[in-house]
């Protein structure tokens, strides 16, 4: 039974894609696949970035698993993971959310020995280091909430214990987005967000946990506040940070704040805003309308985030096996390629390489000049030949992360101050 399933998977891969031989070889031979998973349905939810119907279609094709996807916004995702444990089998959440959700006991730890490509997962998610020389950025770095001490573990541990809370799926380094045509000069620092030159034309996102980090990047760059750890501020640091931004808000620095992805796209595309916090696919969306927009690398570094898949505590038996099979498939390359061609990074980049053209791999991962048009998986042209990615290669971008999205010890206090900022 078990071998049949494996054979079926390999054969399909071989038939499907050009790089299939390579793909198949990345699957270790003695892998024990789950039972026949044909009619199993797994319910997954997460943010819109990775909950894409294409993934569900492909997993049905490759593994026969029915994947029901629900895409929600960041806050709703947390809400669901924490309050409705029976409504999902697989939670696709951000690492900093894990800090909130794990203590509820709604997720179960995963056995790393069942993850075929575990050893190939990027260091950021295992020991925190991108390369052996890297320093670990501030904030909730994924590896700090990535492991627990055993199958029933409730406390996070700081080593690769073999029991994972989340399997990393997608991550990126965020920075400010700008309209180069409307600014007309180089932007190199986070301080520009509060530059009076852009009065009434700046924006920041109204999601407190992420917005506060962008604020901190700005305040630190201005030299106004020195943080012990931007990802875990003291009350005093929060007060100072919010005070600086409240003053700017009252002076009319901001045109608007945005909460959803589309809002940020519209603000930028309409020219209401020329500099703002932004997410990578939003830049892509503005560009695909033919409007110039740059994801500006800044000298102080990036604010980074990472997402992963967690298993519901109630998963067991066949469904659990299917979930492991799904995770192994997820890391085996196709999804990674699909996500990387949108500008995200995959947890196991080397497997994704087989599902990308040389030009795409060079542009997205290696930061090389493109040799032909770069198109998104949905067919939109994102860049022409001879262009390079904003920020350069994977190692340039992920190596310059200054802090990770996080949940602070003083989170409740921060949220209250955030509300004051919005109401100010």
């Amino acid at each position: 039974m078990t071998t049949i399933s494996k054979v079926r998977y390999s054969r399909r891969s071989l038939l499907k894609s050009g790089g299939a031989a390579l793909a198949a070889s990345t699957l270790p031979a003695p892998m024990v696949w789950g039972q026949e998973t044909k009619n199993i349905t797994l319910r997954q939810f997460g943010t819109g970035v990775s909950n894409l119907n294409e993934v569900a279609t492909k997993v049905k094709e490759d593994l026969g698993i029915n994947l029901e996807m629900t895409a929600l916004d960041t806050d709703s995702v947390t809400q669901r993971a924490a309050t409705q444990p029976d409504s999902f089998d697989i939670a696709d959440i951000e690492y900093f959310v894990a800090k909130k959700v794990w203590p509820t006991g709604n997720l179960q730890a995963m056995d790393a020995s069942k993850i075929a490509n575990y050893d190939k997962i990027v260091g950021i998610f295992r020991n925190g280091k991108l390369t052996p020389e890297s320093t670990i950025a501030q904030g909730t770095a994924p590896h700090t909430v990535g492991f627990v001490d055993g199958p029933g573990g409730t406390e996070f541990v700081d080593n690769e214990s073999g029991w994972m809370t989340l399997i990393p799926t997608i991550y990126n380094a965020d920075t400010l987005g700008i309209r180069p045509d409307l600014i007309g000069r180089p932007i190199t620092s986070w301080t520009e967000l509060l530059n009076p030159e852009f009065k009434g034309k700046a924006s920041i996102l109204d999601i407190s946990s992420i917005g506060i980090m962008d604020m901190a990047m700005v305040c630190e760059a201005m030299g106004e506040v020195t943080y012990g750890d931007k990802g875990n501020m003291t009350k005093e640091e929060i007060d100072k940070t919010i005070a600086i931004f409240t003053e700017a808000k009252k002076a009319g620095q901001f045109r608007a704040f945005w909460k959803s992805f589309d809002e940020s796209v519209n603000l930028m595309a309409s020219g209401e805003v020329v500099i703002q916090s932004m997410w990578s696919p939003a830049i892509t969306a503005v560009r695909s309308r033919g409007i110039p927009c740059v994801y500006q690398p800044l000298k102080e570094g990036y604010r980074s985030w990472g997402g992963g898949i967690g298993l519901s505590a109630s998963l067991s038996g066949m469904e659990l096996d299917a979930a492991y099979e799904y995770i192994n498939w997820y890391l085996s390359g196709w999804v990674g390629g699909f996500l990387m061609r949108q500008g995200y990074y995959s947890a196991v980049p080397e497997t994704s390489k087989d599902y990308m053209s040389e030009n795409e791999w060079g542009y997205w991962f290696e930061g090389k000049e493109s040799t032909a048009d770069i198109t998104s998986p949905f067919g939109d042209k994102l860049a022409g030949a001879g262009e390079t990615r904003d920020g350069g290669s994977f190692y340039d971008r992920m190596g310059a992360v200054a802090c990770w999205n996080s949940v602070m010890a003083e989170n409740q206090y921060m949220v209250r101050k955030w509300n004051e900022f919005i109401a100010a």
Binding site: D75, S76, T78, Q79, A82, T83, K100, V101, P103, T104, G200, S203, D206, S208, K249, F254, R255, A256, F257, W258, K259, N266, L267, S270, G271, E272, V407, N411, Q412, V415, R416, N419, E420, I422, A423, A424
Partner: protein, 282 residues
């Protein structure tokens, strides 16, 4: 079966629906408002922390004040427009056919959703939007007007646009029920047009005005999405305070705010009802 029992039975289905879907949830909200919350869960207890924080925070007062401001301004404008439109429909338009036709015309925008009607203002009012480019090409202004969008102006504009019909309908209804011979009598006794309006029509429209007022007040005070979109998240009202709390899993604190808001709205309505006895007037 006695008449009384029949009456009780007839009222029962509605009563059960209201009990189950209105009263019970409100009681739940009131109970949860005394609970405690952590980052990720809520736990039953009896504490006043939520209320204590609410009443001690300056944000609460700013935000409530803001909510009242929006309500008051929206009310005045919708009342003026609503009354004028209803007056025109009821007294200036003579044939019933036209009255009904024009009335239906007023409702056409309501065939699309609230959110769509609201959001469609954004490209119109934007820096490079239709309003600004029209004004610039007419030579009225040189620089685009920044305050058209993402300001109190745009919030109130959207409220007025969304809720004026709720004023028109009850006032129109009241006006249609005014006995025309009363107006003739006023004229026969030498009253000017203004005097007729002031002393005959306006007093008789009071119930309609009051019903419209209740609609507009409750809708504006309970709103959160209009304020969020039209102010570009830069302004806050009570609804936004609650929605922020909910998205951060702070249900008890959201409940406490909701209870305070509910009480405020009820007090406002009670005051309004003291001014006009709707039951008597209807």
């Amino acid at each position: 079966m006695s008449k009384q029992i029949t009456a009780w039975l007839q009222a029962a289905p509605m009563a059960f629906v209201l009990l189950g879907f209105l009263v019970a949830p409100i009681i739940m909200i009131a109970i949860v408002s005394f609970w405690g919350a952590t980052e990720y869960s809520i736990y039953p207890t009896f504490q006043l922390d939520n209320y204590e924080f609410l009443f001690s925070s300056p944000v609460t007062y700013t935000v409530f004040l803001n909510t009242f401001k929006y309500t008051a301004i929206t009310w005045i404008i919708t009342l003026l427009i609503g009354f004028s439109v209803a007056y025109f429909l009821a007294f200036e338009v003579r044939s019933l056919k036209w009255q009904i036709g024009l009335f239906l015309l007023c409702t056409i925008p309501f065939w699309t959703s609230n959110i769509i009607r609201m959001i469609s203002w954004i490209p119109f009012l934007g820096r490079n939007g239709l309003a600004n480019s029209a004004l610039i090409s007419m030579g009225v202004i040189d620089e685009p007007l920044e305050w058209l969008l993402f300001s109190d102006f745009s919030v109130i504009l959207a409220f007025v646009h969304l809720y004026t019909l709720f004023m028109v309908v009850p006032i129109f209804n009241s006006m249609m029920r005014i006995d025309r011979s009363l107006i003739e009598a006023a004229r026969d006794n030498g009253a000017s047009g203004w005097q007729t309006l002031r002393h005959v029509i306006m007093p008789l429209c009071k119930p309609g005005v009051m019903i419209g007022t209740i609609f507009v007040t409750t809708l504006v005070m309970g709103d959160f999405i209009t304020v969020r979109f039209m102010s570009g998240s830069q302004r806050a009202n009570v609804g936004r305070l609650i929605s922020n709390d909910i998205s951060l899993l702070q249900y008890p604190s959201a409940s406490a705010t909701a209870v305070v808001l509910l009480c405020t709205v009820l007090i406002v309505i009670a005051l309004l009802l003291r001014l006009v006895d709707i039951r008597k007037e209807l």
